[in-house]
């Protein structure tokens, strides 16, 4: 009796393996191998030319990164953008989503309109805002001046550049988060809201005790995407400011690109890439372990229990 069963299991295993193999080979080749190579080269002084790196430095590239004011500035900018996203961008998206969940005229049009910026590529967004926020002839300053306010220097002033970048980021991504929240809100059964109302809960209380908790999973995934996006921010900054003026808008990815492809210090750039990877990885693991644990139940946990 045992023989056919184990044969069956073996066949099952072979089938699984064969189905997995193409994806696995691609994954190893295109994801795992580059990560391994980047980790390896991050221990060397290497300009990316002349075959394999030979000039071993140990952890020097890492200590250099963490004593470089530019890189420390990158970390600070990343932190500022994350905090601003969480405190401004996401609440705004949530508010809009709830608003557009109400019955109001032209609802579908507004939904489409607010989602439209997300469809544009980052490069196009960046070029667009370079023109709109241009200090001399840009649309924004002309409007500001016509209503009697002085124009701002936007991307041309170290003290305002990071906020200006954040404005562009928000413009581009609030629609995406809004759609997420809208979908989450529509997944909440009306009966619950009605029940709460019958129990005497009004406006704010319904939101606080029914809508918000039930939107929990959506909010958690939206926060997750927002944070990872801020950590890896590159395209917008690169096209709009190159990280300037005076490194005031530089992000880790921009610094990495500068050193890897402009200065040919590929070893150091690899070290920065590994740091970005580790920050993202640690954040993702901790977040999934502690914050999204309940949301993931039924996915990972149950599978493990059955085995």
């Amino acid at each position: 009796m045992t023989r056919p069963r184990s044969r069956g299991r073996l066949r099952g295993f072979t089938t699984v393996l064969l189905f997995l193999l193409p994806a696995l080979v691609l994954f190893l080749l295109l994801v795992v191998a580059p990560i391994a190579v980047a980790m390896y080269t991050s221990f060397f002084k290497w300009n990316g030319l002349r075959g394999l790196p030979t000039d071993f430095l140990g952890l020097d590239n890492y200590t250099r990164a963490f004593s470089d004011p530019v890189f420390l500035g990158d970390l600070w900018h990343g932190g500022v953008l994350i905090v601003l996203s969480l405190l401004v961008q996401l609440p705004m998206s949530l508010g809009l989503a709830l608003l557009l969940n109400q019955r109001l005229r032209g609802r579908a049009f507004y939904r489409l309109l607010f989602f439209a910026p997300y469809v544009l590529s980052e490069a196009i967004t960046a070029v667009l805002f370079t023109m709109i926020l241009s200090p001399d002839e840009g649309l924004a300053n002309q409007i500001l001046e016509s209503i009697g306010l002085g124009g701002l220097e936007w991307f041309a002033e170290p003290s305002t550049v990071l906020l200006s970048i954040f404005v562009v980021m928000t413009w581009k991504y609030f629609g995406f988060h809004m759609i997420l929240y809208l979908a989450g809100r529509q997944g909440i059964p009306e009966e619950l809201i009605e029940a709460a109302k019958i129990d005497g809960a009004a406006g704010w209380k319904v939101f606080r005790h029914v809508t918000l908790p039930l939107l929990g999973p959506t909010i958690r995934i939206s926060v997750f995407l927002s944070v990872i996006g801020a950590i890896q921010l590159f395209d917008l900054v690169w096209i709009i400011t190159d990280g300037g003026p005076s490194h005031a808008s530089e992000t880790m990815a921009v610094t990495m690109f500068q050193f890897g492809f402009k200065r040919f210090q590929v070893g150091y750039a690899s070290a920065i890439s590994v740091v970005i990877f580790l920050i993202s990885l640690v954040f993702a693991l901790l977040y999934q372990r502690y914050v999204m644990r309940r949301d993931l139940e039924g996915a990972t946990t149950v599978l493990r229990d059955k085995r």
Partner: protein, 429 residues
Amino acid sequence: MKVCRRSAALVAASALILGGCGSTGGNNSGGSGSSAGSKVTVEFWNIWTTEPMKTYGVNAIKEFEAQHPNITIKNVATENEAFKSKITTLTQSGKAPDVYQTWGGGVLKQQVDAGLVKDLSGDAGSWLGTFTDAAMAAYQVDGKPYAVPEDIGMVGFWYNKALFKKAGIADAPSTWSQLIDDVKKLKAAGITPMALAGKDKWPGHYYWAYLAMRIGGLDALKQAGETKDFTGQPFVEAGQKLKELADLQPFQKGYLGAAYDKPDGQAATMGNGKAAMELMGQWAPSVEKSSGKGIGDDLGFFPFPAVDGGKGSVTDAFGGGGGFAIGADAPAEALEFLKFLTESNEHRKAVQTGGVLPVLKGEEDAVTDPNLSVVAKNLASATGFQLYLDQAYPPAVGQEVNDSVAELIAGTKTPEQVAQAITETAKSE
């Protein structure tokens, strides 16, 4: 049937993977062995994506192919910035195209050290002697030529004669203190004295480099490149002079975020008559026209002024050009093509289009454009030549120069810190 399907899926998957691996290259063409008579393809990487060189390049290749029926030239034209990323990626994988655009200096040296570039001294014969010394200077690595020039130019002040007149300035300044005075006069007349692209950084480094040249002379720059010490007096003083200029706030509004050739950028500001001068290379007039309206006959040129008590001569030129190198594994026909491009009759055609400036001896009369003619004459009588610092030195040092000088102009670094930062980067290379 089952087995069949499985293996079909496997074959498809592996084809995908192999396809992914196979298309990595630029240099699938020649290899070194090429026998006469058989078909040879030479891959030619250039940056001729804009007129007039775009059309010129296509015609030149056609003509060459007509003369050499067994050679096919694969024309790979890429926009300037994209070209730099593309060539970087290719050389990092240990390959080089057969014939490719280079700006010489530190980047070329790295490629030479990696064994990717062909040494031209053996095959060249009398060919190399036809180029001017200034034009060849950038392509010598350890005393050997690794590329030949196609274009050469220099940086100087392009100024708006009408605006200078309006501010009551009769003559173009010939010393630094006169320049500072003129900046003050222009400001007093309500005119923006200078246009600068702060975002792009490289236009800012021209000021610092020229000042260092005028104060310490060409030898100071050469010596600093060798000893990797930029803390000497000429470099600190160059920073102080530039800071003195920047403190007058001579640049257009929002210059820290301005790009060079974008709308509202340095060239557009100058081309629309909103600033009185810009420090820029020989391409300035054409970019002013394409990004802005262009200022026509009001445009004039004066060389970077002398600094009182400085060792450098006012006739020393700072600039660069572009040339072509040959990949180490390129077929012999690549050299033939390059000789064709830089041969006197052919290169004259390129100069006559206005796209490049003379690199061959006695070619100056082929320049037709009056603005370019001024530059060509200045170059022909130059007593010394210094390549752009971001190309002369290794890439990391060049970028540090650009970065630090940008911070000096923005007021976040002192002249001493600039000298220190560049020295540190140079020492770590």
